[in-house]
């Protein structure tokens, strides 16, 4: 097929959307419906990879769809950061679909057509966000993403899901309306344009205080980046089925948030301006506080998904922090962390879901000894934990390395200490899970009351007889793929590194 790159760019947004229609039509036949989804995933990956290659060859592509108001356009282009986000999202969509087929069927979820439909719609929005050529386009699809994921969060339809959905929608819509939109209109008013441009769009003599306020509005307004105190939606969204938590709340939605932050920092403010704004330091500490506090809260969570959710809040803080450092190392670290954290966190969520469907356990205190029943899953959990913590042989090493470099370059010693402390906390809240799963009797669990350990102990006594019961095959395949991803990113980070470096050097 010889499609022009312009066409491919548009197809990348349209294909998931067409998938929505196809899923709706084929909804009565689950096999066909899921076949359609997989086909859409494969086409999307093909398109995005082609775009990636096109970018590597130095092609510049821009597409104008529509001029909404004079000067305000819905238009798209490609640049390294967007490609990076699109690559990860499209690839993980495939993996997650694979996982979801196993999960949703064995969990006998209702309304599966709606699930796949909204999922595809969300991916379509993610692609549009990734390729957005201006802040306005990004904002439009940012809101589409919020609304299209609402039915996914409330999938179960229970009182709890409804409450979670309320928090989810409430925080994301309110922050985006009150802060983000205000920041966008003000930017439009001050700079006269909303186009993403390397080095920023503000003129050099812009009022620093005003720009500083705008930066705060942006960081608060991009609620999807879950900077404390606007993080509550993320744990609330954990009532969603695991594949949703996995892709959307560990990859697509939150990454759309930090991606937007990076975009704003690099292409709206520009690193030079960013480093001299009066509010940058405050926001850096806020991000640092977010990293540390979320890790502390994560330690206290007994529900595995909730613990992972808070871990995500903490890790998103890293990315925001890296972007706000306004140095090349910070940006490279943040960009790489988008990908690396995505692989790590999706694996952890997949494992959590696998444990839920196979052993029907969601509490960490009940998971002692499950390594005997689900060795592969727990091994994957262990490797992904290493990646999140940032130690070899997993990918997280690299991104944390660059983030640390960034803090040293800018002499932000407090932040450096925070990052180190947080790494220790990561170890403390992630590793014990896989450790206890394999060696339940080695260390008595001090944190848990006796009742729970008794319960855990009895379940251990009962269950070894069953032997190995891993998750459904499609889910297991997904887990293996993402785990391998974590390892490959450590051994072979070169392409990712190059793409992340190109973010700041790509000429337009």
């Amino acid at each position: 097929m010889n499609l022009s790159l312009e066409l491919m760019l548009q197809l990348a947004i349209v294909v998931p959307f067409l998938a929505v229609v196809a899923i709706l039509v084929t909804g009565h036949n689950p096999n066909l419906r899921e076949g359609v989804t997989i086909a859409a995933c494969l086409i999307l990956i093909y398109l995005v990879v082609n775009l990636y290659q096109g970018l590597a060859l130095g092609a510049t592509i821009s597409v104008l769809w529509w001029e909404l108001l004079p000067g305000l356009t819905i238009s798209f282009n490609i640049e390294p950061l967007g490609i990076l986000f699109a690559l990860i999202a499209s690839f993980l969509w495939l993996v997650t679909t694979c996982y979801a087929i196993g999960y949703m069927r064995s969990h006998q979820e209702k309304n599966q057509t709606r699930f796949y439909l909204c999922f595809a719609l969300a991916i379509s929005a993610v692609m549009a966000i990734a390729f957005a050529a201006n802040l306005f386009t990004l904002f439009v699809f940012y809101e589409v993403l919020t609304l299209s994921t609402y039915p996914l969060v409330t999938h179960a339809g229970t009182e709890k899901a409804q409450k979670g959905g309320r928090v989810y929608l409430g925080i994301l819509l309110s922050t985006s309306i009150v802060f983000f939109l205000l920041a966008i209109v003000s930017t439009w008013f001050v700079a006269g344009t909303l186009d993403f441009k390397l080095g920023g769009i503000f003129s050099a003599d812009v009022d620093k205080t005003l720009a500083g306020i705008l930066l705060v509005l942006f960081v608060f307004g991009i609620g999807k980046a879950a900077i404390m105190p606007f993080h509550r939606w993320l744990p609330a969204a954990m009532v969603a089925p695991t594949p949703v938590s996995a892709l959307l709340h560990a990859v697509a939605v939150v990454k759309a948030g930090v991606f937007t932050i990076l975009k704003v920092c690099i292409f709206i403010f520009g690193l030079d301006l960013l480093s001299v704004l009066p509010t940058t330091q405050f926001l850096l500490y806020l991000a640092g506080a977010s990293v540390l506090l979320a890790s502390l809260v994560a330690m206290r969570q007994d529900n595995l998904k909730a613990r992972l959710a808070y871990s995500t809040v903490s890790q998103l803080g890293y990315i925001t922090l890296g972007a706000l450092l306004a140095t090349p190392s910070g940006v490279i670290g943040s960009s790489m962390h988008i990908v690396i954290h995505a692989f790590g966190k999706i694996t952890l969520f997949f494992c959590a879901g696998a444990i839920l469907v196979t052993l029907h356990k969601s509490k960490i205190s009940e998971m002692r000894g499950i390594g005997r029943q689900m060795p592969l899953t727990m091994l994957a959990f262990f490797i992904a934990s290493l990646s999140i913590i940032g130690v070899p042989p997993a990918g997280g090493t690299w991104s944390k390395w660059f983030l640390m470099m960034g803090t040293i370059e800018t002499e932000q010693w407090v932040l450096m200490v925070i990052l180190m402390l947080s790494t220790l906390l990561n170890i403390a809240y992630l590793l014990p899970i896989s450790f206890h799963a394999f060696f339940p009797d080695l260390i008595p669990n001090k944190n848990q009351p006796n009742k729970c350990s008794n319960k855990a102990a009895t379940s251990i006594n009962k269950q070894p007889a069953i032997g190995i019961t891993e998750a459904p095959l499609p889910s297991l395949i997904a887990i293996v793929i993402t785990t391998l991803g974590c390892l490959i990113l450590f051994i072979y980070p070169q392409p990712l590194f190059e793409l992340a470096t190109a973010v700041l050097t790509n000429r337009e």
């Binding site: 529509w66 909404l68 108001l69 004079p70 305000l72 904002f139 439009v140 809101e143 589409v144 609304l147 409330t154 339809g157 899901a161 409804q162 309320r166 929608l169 409430g170 819509l173 309110s174 309306i177 009150v178 939109l181 205000l182 209109v185 003000s186 439009w188 008013f189």
Partner: protein
């Protein structure tokens, strides 16, 4: 016949008003409800075509002045169509036509058969009144048409099947009459000072006597009277009940048009007749309207959150939306006025769609209490989806019309450097999220009540007009050329700026 059309073209301004006026008594001859409905629909459709032609003509060749009966302007009555009222005429006639499409189905369940013919007569008279207020260039003529539209409106509201409709109509009657009287007193005082009733003439003669107490008094009477009609907080008390208990079709029609006509009057009186400098410099209208507009947004939105009757909920939301228009108006800049005009158009689209959808719910369930919405998301998917999209538009989500007007309003506020007000406007949208989502949650997450009989989707006569309006909500949210261009041109001409 075709050959005579160009000759008719010069008479368009008066035909706009006279066709529905003449059609009303003809309904009496037709008598039976069904033909009357078709006839009213055709009449309204014709009015719509005329308003489109008028707008085209105004946009290409400027202001149209039409002398009624050939009497020259200051003595005779002049109909004067400029960009502003051509735009408002378009809003009124388009909504009226779309809403009428569903009328026959809706009133079958809400109004006794014997009154159907009268319903259409009143509807057409009310339409005539609104079109007359907007089209005329004569201040006293405004009052005449105001009475036509108001009197028919009282009767229409009183037709609601709930007995509280009578009380609501009575409340509206009292308040509306006070408003109309105030306007009349104001016009009388102006006449006394200038000796003219023609708007153009008034605008030229008023500045000479602007610094007199009589003109101040005239201004005060007119503004208060108009504000009563447009339900500006705190003069809004008549509106919620009137909207809630009127027949659904009437609510859909009035919510989209009646207050818009009053806002048109406000703009006409302040900008054209009294003039910008008098209205905004001599009189502190800006601070006053800004404060009242904001208070309206917050108080009405908060009241909306606590309503159990969904028509009442959206009626309060209407008062809040009027607040937005008033805030845009009070900025007194081209962008601000553009925002107000845009929001008049956009709000008409959202509210008519929502109230028509509520009419569909009323048709199936017989009431619109929040508890009746349990599980309606599954039972009436198209109707509920329409309410959700209408609600999103109300919140101002991008790609809906609500976003476009909000964008302009924010821009206008930032132009003046009024950051705090911009923040308040956005917080107002968050309140809209709350009251819309309360309904969404009940409709989609709650199981139907056990004593509730399962219902089917609304009939096609509802679904088609509702979705026409919803598609317009999205279409004009994306293709903003028509609405923005016209609104901007109208605002510019009011400020005397040439593009």
């Amino acid at each position: 016949m075709i050959a005579h059309l160009p000759a008719l073209q010069v008479h368009l301004p008066v035909l706009q008003v006279i066709i529905p006026l003449m059609a009303a008594p003809i309904c009496l001859i037709l008598k039976r409800a069904h033909p009357v409905w078709l006839f009213a629909l055709i009449t309204s459709g014709l009015a719509f075509v005329i308003s489109v032609l008028l707008l085209q003509q105004v946009m290409t060749s400027g202001v149209i002045s039409y002398e009624l009966g050939g009497w020259q302007a200051p003595w005779g009555i002049e109909y004067r169509i400029d960009k502003l009222n051509a735009f408002v005429l378009l809003i009124i006639t388009s909504i009226s036509t779309i809403v009428l499409f569903a009328a026959q189905t809706s009133i079958e369940k809400e109004i006794p058969k014997s009154k159907h013919t009268f319903f259409y007569i009143l509807y057409l008279l009310s339409l005539t009144g609104m079109l007359g207020i907007v089209a005329t260039g004569d201040a006293f003529n405004v009052f005449v048409f105001l009475e036509i539209s108001s009197l028919s409106a009282y009767a229409l509201i009183a037709m609601g099947k709930d007995r509280r409709a009578l009380w609501a109509a009575y409340q509206y009657l009292i308040m509306g009459t006070i408003g109309a009287t105030f306007i009349l007193i104001g016009i009388g005082l102006m006449y006394q000072m200038t000796g003219t009733l023609n708007m153009e003439d008034l605008s030229q003669r008023l500045p000479e006597v602007a610094q007199t107490r009589t003109v101040f008094t005239a201004f005060a009477f007119v503004i208060v009277g108009v504000c009563l009609k447009l339900a500006l907080f705190p003069l809004h008390l008549w509106l919620p009940n009137a909207y809630a208990y009127a027949p659904s079709i009437v609510t859909a029609f009035f919510a989209a048009t009646a207050t818009k006509v009053a806002i048109y009057l406000l703009i006409r009186f302040t900008f054209t007749i009294f003039g910008l400098s008098f209205s905004f410099t001599t009189i502190p209208l800006q601070t006053l309207f800004m404060a009242l507009g904001l208070a309206g947004i917050f108080i009405a939105s908060t009241s909306a959150i606590y309503q159990k009757n969904i028509k009442l909920l959206f009626a309060y939301s209407s008062i809040a939306q009027i607040g937005y228009m008033i805030v845009g108006f009070s900025i007194s800049s081209v962008t601000g006025l553009t925002a107000t005009l845009l929001h008049m158009f956009n709000h008409a689209l959202m509210k008519s769609a929502i109230f028509l959808a509520l009419g569909a719910v009323m048709y199936r369930l017989g009431n619109v209490q929040l508890s009746s919405f349990h599980g309606l998301g599954r039972q009436m998917p198209f109707t509920m989806a329409a309410i959700v999209i209408g609600g999103l538009s109300l919140i101002g989500v991008p790609l809906t019309v609500g976003f476009v007007s909000k964008w302009y309003l924010l821009l206008a506020l930032l132009e003046q450097g009024w950051w705090p007000v911009a923040v308040l406007i956005l917080l107002g949208s968050v309140l809209a999220v709350i009251y819309v989502w309360r309904l969404v949650e009940v409709a989609y997450f709650k199981e139907p009540l056990s004593d509730q009989v399962p219902v089917k989707e609304a009939p096609m006569f509802f679904i088609i007009p509702i979705w026409t309006l919803i598609i317009a909500n999205i279409y004009f949210g994306i293709d903003t050329r028509l609405s923005v261009q016209v609104a901007q041109a109208a605002a510019m001409s009011l400020f005397g700026v040439t593009p």
